[in-house]
């Protein structure tokens, strides 16, 4: 699958999900169970993506500058730093660790 096909498939699928919510009869999706699954899906996927971004390098696990960046991000979020501060600060920490190492 080429990148352009992935871009277009994601776009089409995302749009159909949005449109479905506005279009289907409410009782079809409006069960507490379905709502809970929909709320937990982003939590689960974002957590899995975070873990892989920080500790995986291809198919191997790695401990490198990204862990320091992750630590910075955790502290920044606990201190309620804005999104850009978290992201740019994490990049700066990783760059600094690499420059020193």
């Amino acid at each position: 699958m080429s990148l352009w096909i992935a871009v277009l498939a994601t776009s089409l699928g995302s749009y159909l999900l949005k449109l479905a919510g506005l279009s289907v009869p409410e009782r079809l999706l409006d069960s507490p169970r379905v709502q809970r699954i929909a709320a937990l899906l982003p939590v689960a996927l974002l957590a899995a993506l975070t873990a892989v971004q920080v500790w995986a390098s291809g198919q191997t696990l790695a401990l490198d500058a990204r862990v320091a960046a992750f630590g910075f991000a955790v502290v920044a979020l606990i201190l309620r730093a804005p999104f850009l501060v978290v992201v740019i600060g994490a990049a700066a920490v990783a760059a600094a660790v690499r420059a020193l190492g």
Binding site: G13, K18, L19, V43, A48, T50
Partner: protein, 234 residues
């Protein structure tokens, strides 16, 4: 504005300007995510055009970050698309809550669908009356659309001009971005356990499956676990 405070429709006037002002504020705030998205998308191997197409057409942040995250980590585009769409399932739930407020049909519904987002939904359901909810939805949706797309372009062009992403630590910023998107959703025991299980399973599977697959499997396993945890009362 202040001279009209005693005019008859002042209540609605005031509500209207407050809603529009908040919508613009949300739009500008979301621009920060757009900058990061544009930069990280091109760092992950997408072209500037692909980054911008995603922001115009997909236009739902979590899904866009997921697609470029999986591709940037060396995963297959198909695994990236699947992760992105699973994250987007929540937008269908938002649509359900919005439908009775917006009461849109035909072409307006087709247009409204593209603007169904975390932000536009939150602004609509927070209003006390229906017309304020409609204004909140449309003004927030449009403000976010404009800011998100401009910011994506600036971020993508900027990161391409900056050069070596690893020396700048941009690859490490992807994990921080995902964590920042996840953070506000960790609102109780269920979400926390779901998140920890997802992270652990993803890492446990990483050596054994091609990149992208562990994320998908971990996501589904973690949701199954999370569903078994009683909801914490708020």
């Amino acid at each position: 504005m202040s001279g009209e405070d005693f005019a008859e429709p002042a209540g609605w006037e005031r509500t209207r300007s407050a809603v529009v002002r908040n919508a613009l504020g949300v739009g500008v705030a979301v621009g920060a995510y757009g900058l990061s998205f544009g930069a990280l998308a091109t760092t992950s191997g997408l072209s500037i055009a692909q980054a911008c197409a995603l922001s115009i057409l997909t236009f739902t942040g979590g899904s866009q970050f997921a697609l470029v995250g999986v591709i940037g980590a060396g995963g297959s585009p198909a695994a990236g698309v699947a992760s992105a769409l699973l994250i987007g399932v929540r937008n269908a739930m938002y649509g359900l809550r919005l439908a009775p407020l917006l009461r849109v049909t035909g072409a307006r519904r087709l247009l409204a669908a593209q603007l169904v987002l975390d932000e536009s939904t939150a602004m609509a359901v927070a209003q006390d009356e229906d017309r304020a909810a409609r204004l909140g939805f449309w003004s927030t949706g449009l403000a976010v659309f404009v800011c998100w797309n401009l910011a994506t372009l600036v971020g993508a062009v900027g990161a391409t001009a900056l050069g070596d992403p690893e020396a700048l630590g941009l690859d490490a910023a992807v994990g921080a971005a995902f964590l920042a998107l996840l953070w506000p959703r960790l609102t109780g025991r269920g979400p926390w356990i779901t998140a920890l299980v997802a992270g652990a399973v993803a890492l446990a599977l990483t050596p054994h499956f091609p990149a992208g697959v562990p994320v998908l499997v971990a996501g589904l396993v973690a949701v199954t676990v999370g569903m078994r945890i009683p909801e914490t009362p708020r």
